[in-house]
């Protein structure tokens, strides 16, 4: 049996789950409380500090970024503007957006019917198909890259463009299929059976019954895929490195340091501009993310 942790539990139960819920006013409990909170604050600081240091250095002047100073004097907000106007940067930004938006759309369109078939149809070879999905999920991208590169380069002449990154997404993504299927398995079967009895076709059942129920899962899977594309380094390195006009942010960013190798401030400003959209989207869509990660945690 595959069960899933209900996403709704994570939020509500957070507070109630503390085994020492009742405030014992004994000195030992108070000491424990202090130790726990001190540790939490220290750990949180360690996790936030890298962002803080990146942000502060991004705003330093050229000469100050060569010193071990931590606080920028003065604040050079112009660094962010300068990075934005670096030749290539807006192009990388646009390419990344194209890759992420098209890639996510195609992945969802192609993966949803596959997940539906794997979750709801009974057919021979279903177990084998599921094993293949998991195997594909675990496949290092480097294993298949040489023949794929040769096909894209020699047969389609598409290397140096974004197409070798985007087109494969129209053929289903194993991780997305897996997550969507896990979610579909948790849907109450009676709805589907009732619809079938009422003469509902499979396509209609999928679009009219399953999809409306799956909005949270689709949001999570879509966000995961969007971030996968946004963060992808290996794909753009293989297929687009020969043509700077097709670079994405992840690939372009690393060249930034060698171009500006004396100035950490500009490199950190660029790093900040690449991180920012991801973190901003996360703050607005936090719920969907956390639910999605919980979805990956399958229990026996």
């Amino acid at each position: 049996m595959t069960t899933m942790t209900s996403p709704a539990r994570t939020a509500g139960a957070t507070r109630a789950a503390d085994p020492n819920r009742k405030q014992h006013r004994s000195p030992k409990a108070a000491l424990e409380w202090i130790a726990l909170h001190a540790f939490a604050v220290a750990a949180a600081l360690l996790f936030v500090l890298p962002f803080v240091f990146v942000g502060l250095t991004a705003l330093m002047s050229d000469s100050q970024s060569l010193t071990p100073d931590l606080w920028p004097t003065p604040f050079v907000w112009h660094n962010l503007v300068q990075v934005w106007h670096t030749p290539g940067f807006p192009t990388w930004w646009r390419n990344t957006l194209i890759y992420a938006v098209l890639g996510t759309t195609l992945t969802l369109l192609s993966s949803i019917p596959v997940a539906y078939a794997l979750a709801c149809f009974r057919f021979r070879g279903r177990t084998v198909a599921m094993m293949m999905v998991i195997a594909t999920m675990m496949l290092p991208p480097q294993v298949a890259i040489v023949p794929l590169y040769l096909v894209w380069a020699q047969d389609f002449h598409l290397t140096g463009t974004l197409w070798p990154l985007i087109i494969p997404m129209a053929f289903g993504d194993a991780f997305s299929i897996f997550l969507l299927r896990q979610f579909m398995l948790t849907l109450p079967r009676e709805y589907l059976e009732a619809a079938k009895v009422d003469g509902c076709s499979d396509l209609r059942a999928l679009t009219k019954i399953v999809l409306p129920l799956m909005k949270p899962a689709i949001a999570a899977v879509g966000l995961f895929q969007f971030f996968y594309c946004w963060n992808d380094y290996f794909g753009p390195q293989i297929y687009t490195s020969e043509n700077p006009a097709a670079w994405t942010l992840s690939y372009g960013l690393q060249t930034f340091k060698s171009a500006h190798h004396t100035n950490w401030n500009l490199t950190m400003a660029a790093t900040l501009l690449v991180m920012a959209p991801v973190i901003i989207v996360f703050f607005f869509a936090q719920r969907a993310f956390v639910d999605g990660v919980t979805l990956t945690g399958v229990k026996g």
Binding site: F39, P50, F53, I209
Partner: protein, 336 residues
């Protein structure tokens, strides 16, 4: 989740006064079977094509190319086991890369699992501000790998990095981190632990599922904190720990972007396609197996040898994937 309202709407939309579709007159059982098979194939078609084009075909071709001599131009010529002998024997980077990959698997997976568990247990114990804490611990997981790596190369850079500055002020030794072969791997491990948020959230969900009565009963029996963890929490977390460890091993065997970018940025050399750059700066200490595929195939144009490494990587990954799908352990059940 608004399951109730949405589904009710769905059913009403599909309601029909007569029951149809069960037995269409004149249709045999065989015909229905065939129709069902066609329907299944239609739904599965994107993935069937994708698996063929992007998994089976490249895998078979990789297998074949591993026995040929091929530089990407002209036609491959059969060379028997020459590539295998070269990679396992003369190529100086294979065994160090395998050893590095094993180091990363051992250290990163155990550190990530332990710290993910510790943070998860910490966050569920905090009453006020637990949502903020969860956000803080989770956010680094989302940092794009290239950006996160650049940030860490800066933070840990020996000359002006804030970390060594602080270590110096505290009178502690200031390692060379990404520029020192014996510190580059620990620096990458720090980066990996920074991104532990995904595991933390998975563990939190599982920790919140432990029945509270068990803790209360254990406390009545006089079990201390360690015994409660050992005999209540741990058994409950077993399956999810197994899942985290095996998926962690598989992910770390694919460890590519962070070590590559760290080496390139710290050394100041970007090795593009066809460029011969000493891999795994400093001194090969950050070289992993997946990087060898790139180094051999796309920088040295030795496609046969690249395919040998790709196949070895494939066998290792699939061995762990099989472990994950083993029926007994039930970690990732393929049935429902």
């Amino acid at each position: 989740m608004s399951v109730q309202s949405a589904s009710t709407r769905g059913i009403q939309g599909a309601r029909h006064p007569l029951i149809k579709g069960r037995s269409v007159p004149g249709q045999t059982l065989k015909g229905r079977r065939r129709r069902e098979t066609l329907r299944t194939l239609a739904f599965l078609s994107p993935w069937l094509l994708g698996t063929g084009l992007f998994f089976i075909y490249p895998l078979v071709t990789t297998g074949w190319l591993s026995f040929t001599h091929y530089d990407g131009f002209g036609t491959p010529t059969w060379s028997g086991l020459a590539n295998w002998r070269f990679v396992l024997g003369d190529y100086p980077f294979f065994w160090p890369a395998l050893a590095n990959t094993l180091w990363f698997v051992l250290v990163i997976v155990s550190l990530r699992v332990l710290s993910g568990l510790a943070l998860g247990m910490l966050v569920i114990r905090i009453k006020r501000g637990s949502n903020l804490l969860r956000t803080v611990f989770y956010a680094p997981y989302l940092a794009p790998p290239v950006a996160g790596t650049l940030a860490f190369v800066f933070l840990l850079n020996p000359g002006t990095g804030p970390v060594n500055h602080l270590l110096g002020k505290l009178g502690l030794p200031q390692p060379g981190w990404f520029n020192d072969p014996s510190w580059s791997k620990p620096a990458l491990a720090l980066l990996a632990v920074w991104g532990v948020g995904d595991l933390m959230v998975i563990f939190m969900a599982s920790l919140l599922d432990v029945p509270q009565q068990l803790y209360e009963a254990a406390m009545l029996d006089g079990a201390g904190a360690w015994n409660r963890f050992r005999h209540v929490t741990l058994p409950h977390l077993r399956p999810i720990l197994g899942f985290a460890i095996i998926t962690g091993i598989i992910a770390t065997m694919q460890y590519y972007t962070e070590p590559l970018v760290a080496g390139q940025v710290a050394s100041g050399q970007i090795g593009g396609s066809g460029q011969q750059v000493e891999p795994g700066y400093p001194s090969g200490s950050t070289l992993t197996l997946p990087q060898l595929v790139y180094n051999l195939g796309f920088q040295r144009f030795d496609i046969g040898a690249a395919c040998v490494v790709a196949l070895i990587l494939f066998v290792l990954s699939m061995a762990f994937a099989a472990l994950l799908m083993r029926r007994r352990s039930g970690l990732l059940s393929v049935e429902d």
